[in-house]
Each structure stands twice: as C-alpha cells, then as structure tokens.
C-alpha cells in the first residue's frame, strides 16, 4: 500500500518536472509575468494613492474586492469552528 503511494507520487513528480521544462528561467526580466499589468501598477501607484508600499496599495485599493471576500472567508471559518464545537447544556 505504501509502495503504491510512493510510486504514484514519484510518477506525478516526474510528469510535473517534464512540465516545468517549458517555463521561463528563474529571474528572467522578459518573462510574461513582468510585462502585462505589473509595470502599470509600479509606475502609477504613488501618484494615484500616496502610499509607497506597492503591495498594500494593490491589496487594499486596486484589488480591494478580493480582500473583502478574504475577510468574509476568515469570518466564516471562525463561525463554523464555534458552531461545530458546541456542547449542549443539560
């Protein structure tokens, strides 16, 4: 049983490593991740929001709707844990 699990993990790892042979190298400035939206955020963050920390400006202003959903997720997790671990009073 454990041999079968180890074999399937090894096979999945080999397929994933074959898949990463087509990705851009580590730290390449011409990779597609650096050329679409990120230069616009870096160039215009200070004049539009007066916040030097670009990560906080994107998290709370440009993508503020995602952070609202995130806060709802953590609120729901807290409520579910309290509801699951309740003891009925006799």
């Amino acid at each position: 049983m454990k041999l079968l699990a180890a074999l399937s993990a090894f096979l999945t790892g080999a397929i994933l490593i074959y898949g990463t042979l087509f990705m851009p190298p580590f730290g390449d400035p011409k990779a597609p991740a650096h050329t679409h939206v990120a230069p616009r955020y870096i160039a215009r963050a200070l004049e539009e929001t007066e916040v030097p920390n670009i990560v906080t400006a994107i998290l709370a202003d440009y993508r503020g709707y995602d952070t609202l959903g995130e806060t709802t997720v953590i609120f729901t997790a807290g409520v579910s844990v309290i509801l699951l671990l309740r003891r009925n009073k006799k």
Partner: protein, 141 residues
C-alpha cells in the same frame, strides 16, 4: 491548561511582555503604508498576544478578561467596517469601493486614508477569529 503554566518566570515575563507585543502589533497595522505589514499580519500578532495570555495564566482567567461574546461581536464589526467603507463610497456618487469619491479629502489623500480604515477593519476581524478558534479548540473534556 486550567491554572496556566506552573512557573513564576513564565508568568512574570508574560505579564511584562504582553503590552509591548500589542503595541508592536498596532504599529505593524498602521505603518503598513511605508513598510511591509498591513492588516493581516498585525491582526495575527494581536491574536497571538491573547493566546500567550491564555497559555501562561490559564484558560478560565483568560476567558474572564477576553469574554467570548465580546470576541464574537468583534468578528462581525471588522467586516462591517470594511463593507461600510465601500458603501460610503457608493453613497457619495461613485462605484462600490471606489475610494476617490468619498467625502472627506481630495483624491490622492482620500485613497490613503480609506486604505488605513480598511486595514484596521481587517486587523480587528483577524484578531477576534484567531482568539475564538483557540478558545473553542482548547476546551477540556
């Protein structure tokens, strides 16, 4: 877990360090504009200070200081602050969460102010949820 840790060094050091930990957490939340940090990180540090108090002095003593009903209400208040900030922008003539149209200051500075309000809301919710999960999971029986 009922009477806390049995050593006097742990109790004394916790009593000295917990106000400084909470002050550092408030610094991390409010200084998120200029250094790494923000709402989630500062909220987790605040929750960790409550967990340190419960570990050092006992679960019942911690529940008398940080009551469970108050923590539950604080969970909801953080989400209401965030959604209310978006709604305020809707009432002043823009889209939902469009910080440029809120009524207090002029456009680049009002966005910085609203980012601070929103991060405070996120920090309150994360602190209350971390403390509530710890008190619910550590019930003895």
């Amino acid at each position: 877990m009922d009477k806390g840790y049995d050593d006097i060094i742990v109790k004394t050091i916790s009593r000295l360090m917990i106000p400084f930990i909470q002050l550092y957490a408030l610094y991390v939340i409010l200084h998120g504009h200029y250094s790494p940090g923000g709402g989630f990180q500062g909220g987790v540090i605040l929750g960790a200070s409550i967990i340190l108090f419960a570990l050092a002095f006992g679960r019942e003593t911690a529940l008398e200081v940080f009551k469970e009903k108050v923590l539950l209400v604080l969970c909801g208040i953080g989400v209401i602050i965030y959604a209310g900030a978006g709604y305020l922008c809707l009432l002043s003539g823009g889209n939902y969460l469009d910080y440029g149209k809120a009524p207090f200051f002029h456009p680049p500075y009002i966005r910085s102010f609203m980012i601070m309000v929103v991060e405070i809301g996120v920090g309150i919710t994360v602190m209350a949820v971390m403390a509530s999960i710890f008190f619910a999971l550590s019930r003895r029986e």
